[in-house]
């Protein structure tokens, strides 16, 4: 229980100044990642950011070697981040070049850049291990992130950079929205598509390098993808989707860092990713519009309506009903008595169903009602589509027909 109270303290920012700054930094990072990731997801370039994040590693190694060669400490976070940004940028340009200039697809370009840059980075890490005589430079922590030994200055830097990136996402939301949905229209409106795409991936790059220390380069892509995919379930509007994605990312970042500060054996990066996934799973199952349960309920409801409709028509024609589901929905709707005979309500509804069927038939024969009858899926109530006078007119024709026959 000690861990739990520590976690509550961390959540309420009372677990010490350092832990609070780390949690806020991770939260702002998640905020920025969620927002930037939303556009990348809409533009269907989610996995490009995986190449970008793996391509940071050689930059980290080279920056360390350069800083040591210049007589520095080599572990300055700002320097390492600068180096990682340069090599990630080169990786991004190369993915673009391979995709445009050769016959290889984007997936092959991503896989190639990702593995080759990462491999080269690992070679550099072993070089660093050898040259520093076995002394750990601690660069391995960039693979999976580590908030445990984070310095106060580093945490502040991450928080500030995360906040700036979030603000940049907000500032660029209009051109990025246009390009994500309709590049041709965006170009016609004077938006430079290629430059906007580059800026969008530039934001992903920023998120990646800022997140190196917290989440690590292997998992940072999760913070770009998962909040965006989860947010997509809750809304059909871009503006709202960005806010929701930012919220999910920020919440996961903050809570994940707090959890990690309370429980020693829970690393921050993977915890943040798992929290993102928990929110994603919740969205997948329970979101009202596109969620799995909503779809299931909608399907059930539709099925019931079809069965009631068919059952009522059978009752009107006095045909026996055998289907179990039809019988049970009719009973539950109060159209049938437990012994299988129609109730008063049932007779009325059945008569109405037959009348409506006849009305639809007449309505369909009238050219001027094409638009209204086109909306009928066999279950639409005619009163919801046609006005009372139109129905009265149809009824008059029905009565005439009946009179003519008899």
């Amino acid at each position: 229980m000690e861990g739990l109270s520590l976690f509550l303290q961390a959540l309420t920012l009372q677990a010490g100044y350092n832990a609070a700054v780390v949690a806020i930094g991770a939260g702002l990072l998640g905020l920025a990642a969620g927002g930037a990731g939303a556009f990348i997801f809409l533009r269907k370039r989610a996995l490009v950011s995986d190449a970008v994040s793996h391509a940071t590693l050689p930059g980290v190694g080279l920056a360390f070697l350069l800083m040591v060669a210049l007589g520095g400490d080599g572990r300055s976070l700002a320097g390492l981040i600068l180096g990682s940004a340069v090599s990630a940028g080169i990786g991004l340009v190369l993915v673009d070049w391979i995709t445009r200039k050769t016959r290889l697809g984007e997936d092959a370009a991503i896989g190639a850049i990702l593995s080759v840059f990462f491999g080269a980075g690992i070679v550099l890490l072993t070089v660093i291990q050898n040259t520093s005589g076995g002394r750990q430079a601690g660069l391995e922590s960039f693979l999976l992130g580590s908030t445990a030994g984070m310095l106060f200055d580093e945490a502040v830097m991450i928080a500030v950079a995360g906040g700036i990136t979030a603000a940049l996402v907000f500032a660029m939301r209009r051109p990025m929205t246009l390009v994500a949905f309709d590049p041709e229209f965006a170009a016609a409106n004077g938006v430079h598509v290629q430059r906007t795409d580059l800026a969008m991936m530039g934001l992903a790059l920023l998120v990646t390098v800022i997140g190196l220390k917290v989440v690590g380069l292997i998992l940072i892509i999760a913070l770009l993808i998962i909040p965006a995919v989860a947010a997509r379930f809750w809304t059909e509007r871009v503006g709202r989707m960005i806010w929701i994605a930012s919220l999910i990312g920020g919440l996961s970042g903050f809570c994940g860092a707090a959890l990690s500060s309370a429980f020693v054996a829970l690393p921050a990066g993977p915890m943040i990713v798992l929290l993102c996934f928990a929110l994603f799973t919740f969205s997948l199952l329970f979101s009202p519009g596109r969620g799995a349960f909503a779809a299931l309920i909608a399907r059930r409801r539709f099925q019931h309506r079809v069965h009631i409709r068919q059952g009522l028509l059978s009752m009107a024609r006095e045909e026996p009903i055998y289907d179990g589901l039809t019988l049970s929905v009719l009973r539950r709707g109060g159209y049938l008595n437990p012994d299988g005979t129609p109730t008063v309500n049932g007779r009325a509804a059945a008569a109405k169903a037959v009348l409506d069927e006849a009305r639809w038939k007449v309505a369909r024969s009238r050219r001027q009602l094409d638009r209204e009858t086109g909306a009928d899926d066999g279950l639409t109530r005619i009163e919801t589509v046609l006005t009372p006078d139109q129905i009265a007119d149809i009824d008059a024709q029905l009565a005439l027909k009946k009179g003519g026959v008899s």
């Binding site: 896989g111 990702l114 990713v273």
Partner: protein, 309 residues
């Protein structure tokens, strides 16, 4: 020198070559089907698989780990399919969600469990331990003919050789079906080829190759070999058969050149320690791809020689 070479370097090189070819073969078809990143996804989910296998059995022996990794690969394929269908999400994003989550779960599990007594960590899963596959019983080239010494070969060689032969056999058996369903799925369906089953079989073959390789060489080489040699080969030729030949040649060259560069390069340059062989092999495969992207005869759509010439 030569006895030392056989003892220390020959077996890692053979393992590297076998693993590289075993991954490059299915990689050719994944590349042509625009599924090149499946290898990336599979090699990430291997980690939770081996951690769970360790937690269940309490040891780090090969077979439970491989079964665990294989099961994890299956689980990830099922999760990707489920998320794609339930959420109507594009495949790339669904893949991103699944493999990052499973990898994160693997890391958390690993941190939670006590692995102090065994050699199991994230770095191992990433870089493998190619350099440690030493042939203790070898005394020179003559040991290759000595059954007693041969029995002491690292077990990874036999395992990878079996997987490679199996992959080759499957490739020969289903060559026509694979080729047709890769280039023209619609036509394949029309002539009665089970396109979905072939696709699933291909992913499974890739998963088996990845799982068998990661233990010896780590996931960096696995990802690199799934993509780089086939991609480089694709830039050399238009014929599927030639492409596969080139990819095998590139994969083997990358493994051999990379291993030598990692093991002896630093010493030739005046250093004392070798650098990561896995990382160097991946780097060399990238250099090969870069050369092909710059000079390959079929590097872009315009310069590709037309069929039948």
């Amino acid at each position: 020198m030569s006895a030392e070479f056989v003892q220390l370097s020959l077996t890692p090189m053979i393992v590297g070559v076998l693993a590289a070819i075993a991954c490059a073969l299915p990689g050719n078809f994944l590349l042509l089907r625009r599924q090149a990143l499946i290898g990336d996804a599979i090699s990430h989910v291997v980690l939770p698989g081996i951690v769970v296998a360790f937690l269940v059995t309490g040891t780090v022996t090969a077979w439970p780990m491989m079964i665990g990794a294989g099961l994890a690969a299956l689980v990830s394929v099922a999760m990707i399919e489920g998320i794609k269908r339930l959420g109507r999400i594009e495949p790339g994003a669904a893949m991103g969600v699944v493999f990052t989550t499973l990898f994160a779960a693997g890391v958390v599990l690993l941190e939670q469990s006590d692995t102090s007594g065994v050699h199991l960590d994230v770095e191992h899963a990433l870089y493998g331990n190619l350099e440690s596959l030493i042939w203790f019983d070898a005394e020179g080239w003559a040991s290759l003919l000595d059954p007693v010494a041969l029995a002491g070969l690292p077990p990874q060689i036999l395992r990878l050789a079996v997987i490679l032969v199996l992959t080759l056999a499957l490739l020969g058996l289903f060559w026509k079906e694979l080729a047709i369903s890769t280039f023209d799925p619609g036509f394949a369906q029309a002539v009665g080829i089970p396109v979905r089953a072939i696709g699933f079989g291909l992913v499974m073959a890739a998963a088996i190759a990845a799982v068998a390789s990661f233990d010896a060489v780590g996931s960096i080489i696995v990802i690199a070999m799934f993509v780089c040699p086939p991609a480089a080969a694709r830039l050399m030729t238009n014929s599927l058969g030639h492409q596969i030949g080139w990819s095998v040649f590139f994969a083997a060259s990358a493994a051999i050149v990379g291993y030598i560069a990692a093991g002896y390069g630093p010493i030739w340059l005046g250093g004392v320690h070798a650098v990561s062989a896995a990382g160097m092999i991946a780097t060399v495969s990238g250099l090969i791809l870069a050369l092909c992207a710059l000079f390959g005869p079929a590097r872009n759509r315009l310069s590709a020689p037309s069929e039948g010439q």
